[in-house]
């Protein structure tokens, strides 16, 4: 059977690897559509032929649960992620504690992050900085991008000295360095939930299960994700 997965764009590397494996084993074919979670959720609401939805944040999954577009009992939290502060390759570590003088570190320059009201990484970042008590000072220096990768690009291109991204994004980009990890309690837990959609094919459940096999876990971990429910 052909299983269609709607997955948050940041999962591409890991999921592509897992899917290749799974296809070889099961004989099912997988088509994975990577996009921002918000758009995928809207598409599912509009009747997209998705069997599985893996969101980068819980709110859109909650929304779909509300409208009955997913099978509530199939929902589980699949992955977690850390929120990190990245800087250029030669940046010094920053201790992300309450009252950290991020604004001072930035000087005249910008802090790159996702849209603070809509892109999940941006929203987490805002929350974290708020709980560290520095949001108001930092906000005027925030450059928001439409996705978290673009924020990373700003740092790697040297346009912004620092950026807030997921730990998984910082992997494998030599020109950026993680200079600090936001304390887990400074923001809502970063959770990637998975669920079958209302119209999911029966075979889809097997792939959801396959996402929790050791091979899959290894693949996720290799991309810097935390695997939940272990």
């Amino acid at each position: 059977a052909e299983i269609t997965v709607f997955a948050a764009a940041s999962l591409k590397n890991a999921l592509d690897a897992i899917a290749a494996d799974y296809q070889a084993k099961s004989g099912d074919t997988l088509a994975i559509s990577y996009e921002s979670s918000g758009k995928l959720a809207k598409q599912i609401q509009e009747g997209a032929p998705a069997d599985i939805f893996i969101s980068a944040a819980t709110d859109w999954m909650d929304k779909l649960a509300e409208t009955g577009d997913i099978q509530a009992d199939s929902r589980s939290d699949l992955l977690g992620n850390d929120l990190v502060l990245v800087g250029g390759a030669d940046a010094a570590p920053v201790d992300l504690v309450k009252g950290v003088d991020l604004a001072g570190l930035l000087g005249d320059e910008k802090l790159a992050m996702g849209l603070v009201d809509s892109v999940p990484a941006g929203m987490y970042g805002k929350e974290a900085l708020t709980s560290l008590g520095v949001w108001d000072a930092v906000f005027p220096k925030v450059a928001q991008t439409d996705n978290v990768r673009a924020a990373l690009k700003l740092v790697s291109a040297g346009e912004a000295p620092y950026g807030i991204v997921y730990a998984s994004d910082a992997v494998s980009d030599a020109s950026v360095k993680v200079v600090g990890t936001f304390p887990a309690d400074s923001h809502e837990p970063i959770i990637y939930p998975v669920a079958l959609t209302k119209s999911a094919k029966p075979e889809a459940a097997a792939f959801v299960a396959a996402l929790k096999t050791p091979e899959a876990v290894a693949a996720f971990k290799a991309q810097g994700f935390e695997v939940l429910g272990q």
């Binding site: 269609t4 995928l40 598409q43």
Partner: protein, 232 residues
Amino acid sequence: MFDWLTPEARAAVLLSLKVSVWATVVSLPFAIAIAHGIARRAGWVWQAVNGIVHLPLILPPVVTGYLLLLTFGRKGWIGQWLDQWFGIVFAFKWTGAVIAAAVMSFPLMVRAIRLAIEAVDPKLEAAAGTLGANRLWVFGTVTLPLIVPGIIAGAILAFAKAMGEFGATITFVSNIPNQTQTLPSAIYAFLQVPGGDVAAARLVAISVVVALTALVASELVARRVARLIAGN
């Protein structure tokens, strides 16, 4: 060819080509008809049409994509009806990508053709009239041949735009490999993950080569047509 591409990327290239060609071809007659109306008729109706045609240009592509989803989606007011009565579904199909690309490139096409129509000397059309040709025939035998360079210009602009269209397409039909994943969507997906830059650059190169080839070819055709009309 394309051996150095992953099968998925290859599929994206082919799909993009298919979608762009279809989008161009399908919208061409409408574009010509509407351009003609706007260029040669007066009145607020055509002014309104003119405005509507430009909307996809003005709106962020995402918005156009959502509007398409709300209109042609399976639950959309037209989509639902098409599905029920004709079994035609656009949402999340390559045909949907065609629609998205066609809608997005439509203003460009219409503008180009319209400029060409406005450059046609109405005196020639009048001359055709004195020879007994009715409006439709005049259009087909005088106006249309004379605007061929403009049509080619509009078509190639539309084709290029369709090749690059991303926002509305991915919003309307998502990004499903082999089905709705066009080249720009694939590029987008690669750009979203660590280490995807190289793969993305490769796709960008393909996209550039394909579109520029089409561009150069169209230029040659347009030049030949123009030279033919100039009579040298």
